[in-house]
Point group: C2
Chain length 363, copies 2
DNA sequence: CCGAGCCGGGAAAGCGCATTCCCTTTGCCT
DNA sequence: AGGCAAAGGGAATGCGCTTTCCCGGCTCGG
């Protein structure tokens, strides 16, 4: 027994396929009540399931939304994916997933695959990058995306437009105020105490990372603090860990000379990792070297990843409405783009940057 | 300019659509070199992208793999999803995502939607359940799945078969040794010290949770320990937190009478939460009540979620190769099911269940 | 009372592609 | 040199559905 078709249903109901089609989907023309009932009865006695491919072919639209992320297991992307999924579901669409590890060449392939499947919209969640090695890939990606748009596709990208893509209709950019928020974070941190700041950033050229670094520096400048040193590393937990190891050595070296007085340099070190996962990695590194947070160093991240909120000391960070970002991106690309309310976040200071040692475990 | 078709390419190349089709896909028949080149040149001068819907219609197979999870933002599912995605990618397929919060009715809809899209295979990752309220939904889900299978679909389910589904060809169950591993965990924990065990479990009827509870109890029994009390709560962080609050009160009450001697009851309390996320929630609750782990209570989880590994005190748990599970499920359903190597995990004891207070921060 | 208009139903033409079947051409063997 | 097999190219069919277009019967107005 192979899947039954609309024709089978029509035959069983004793009507034409055209009529059956009109009954079983929201057509403009409403067949008579009796006929409709007959068709519907036939349909579910046969267990009829419309062939979405055929429907798509006939209507040239698929009800599919393509989502491109670096890594679905990364909680940052997982959170965004949840928002996308949710919005898609509300619209009766399904989401098609592609992971690319951030490689523009792979992203280009993903876009092509989505285009092949006639996805109604594409949401690109991964950070853009301008690293030299990505140049060609970026160009191809931009071209592919352009073609997709020109053929009527909608695309929403989180953060920054794809490098080199022209702004055509159906191309939406969901701006995330990374720079501004990082500046706010720097201000609050600088106001809270006299620190020596160090930034753990991703590879140069990664927009999200660069924005946050730039914002942080400008926030520092505004507060009258000197610019922070920037350590470049991988944009993940392991990168954060490596940087943490380096910093740990430095901190210990700074503590050693005075020997008795831990607060040798009048300033404590304050680390800003450009995302929470890196911050956690760095914190783990410090701890593994016997250093304590916030006693020997303070640390802040960015994103406010939910799974990491139970981490102790609680991580100071910048809250980003990740799920909402995914949702908005989807709506903007594929939906009745209601109020295009901009994305906002907020600085969330917690224990990991508390200068003085409180006793409570709260927060 | 709308997407160009195979016919366009053929016309430009001066050949028939049949030939163009043969060139651009791996057909059995190989057109001549010169013609092939001409077609290929025409194809990419037009930026031709084959219409996967049409291809699917013609070949009746879509290159799609449906994945059903409870919540993609849950790190457990995210990890499995990564494995699925990876395996799918290797096979040149794409994954279609559906999240259902574990509701069988939603899962049934997801299966129907996958069937409509003619997905080649469906991977169901969420735990099965036999809660009374789910009864009808389960039946419908089983029916839908049966139909899908009979029409030639492949399905792989992680853990347990869907309740009520008959075993037809193309129906694969990836067994996870939850019970056995939970028993091992119980043995090791019981051997490590004389504890009073308490289990924080999910709602009764949730297979994964029930298996782990049953396994843990039998491990306890084998070690000669009395059965543990079971606290039922939600299968997520918040459920763990609530249970933790309850337990915290109890622990404090037990400590209070003796007043001076913290080790009043000769046995410390050892909590087993049926998954890591719940364990973290419970730990957070204890801590918020001023209790310390492992001093005032020890705790273990299950899954060994990667994102949670930097949590301190490091959580004792049972490692499960989540990514591999997703991968295997996919391969088994959609692939050249090579070696059907069973899934194995292992107990991983860390600081959170250390009876004695070591000084190092390692592990 | 008759024609204009409308409404509900059916026939048929694709949507873009794979594939079967047929025909021509080429190469090879006897 | 004649015959045949194999190979390579094309016309046509169909995958399952939507959607025009058409047609018969109905109602309503003049």
């Amino acid at each position: 027994m192979v899947a039954s078709t609309l024709t089978d249903v029509a035959r069983l109901a004793g009507v034409s396929p055209a009529t059956a089609s009109r009954v079983l989907n929201g057509s403009a023309r409403k067949p008579g009540q009796d006929i409709a009932d007959r068709v519907r009865k036939a349909a579910d006695s046969l267990g009829y399931i419309p062939n979405a491919q055929a429907q798509g072919l006939a209507k040239s639209s698929s009800g599919l939304i393509g989502l491109i992320v670096h890594d679905i297991a990364d909680p940052y992307f997982a959170a965004i994916a949840r928002g996308v999924q949710e919005a898609a579901r509300e619209q009766g669409r399904m989401v098609l997933l592609a992971t690319t590890a951030g490689a523009p060449a792979d992203e280009k392939e993903a876009v092509a695959a989505f285009a092949a499947r006639r996805a109604d919209a594409i949401v690109i969640a991964g950070s853009r990058s301008v690293r030299p090695g990505d140049h060609d890939g970026n160009a191809e990606l931009a071209a592919e995306l352009d073609r997709y748009c020109r053929n009527g596709g909608q695309v929403a990208v989180v953060g920054h437009p794809v490098v080199g893509s022209s702004v055509c209709e159906g191309y939406h950019v969901l701006t995330v105020p990374n720079e501004e928020l990082a500046a706010n974070l720097a201000s609050e941190l600088a106001a809270a105490g006299d620190h020596q700041f160090v930034i753990i950033g991703g590879p140069a050229g990664l927009f999200t990372s660069d924005d946050r670094i730039r914002g942080f520096q400008s926030g520092l400048a505004a507060a009258g603090s000197p610019a922070a040193e920037v350590i470049r590393t991988d944009f993940n937990r392991s990168g954060g860990f490596d940087a943490g190891v380096t910093l740990a050595a430095r901190i210990k070296a700074a503590q050693a000379p005075a020997d008795t007085a831990p607060a040798q340099s009048s300033q404590g070190i304050c680390i800003f990792a450009v995302n929470d996962v890196m911050a956690i990695g760095a914190a783990a590194a410090l701890r593994s070297k016997g250093l304590r947070i916030p006693r020997d160093a303070t640390i802040a991240g960015f994103d406010d990843i939910e799974t990491l909120r139970d981490f102790r000391p609680a991580l100071s960070t910048v809250h980003l409405p990740l799920e909402e970002i995914g949702r908005q991106a989807t709506l903007r690309a594929a939906g009745t783009a209601q109020d295009d309310r901009p994305i906002t976040g907020h600085v969330t200071l917690r224990r990991s940057t508390e200068a003085t040692f409180h006793s409570g475990a709260a927060n």
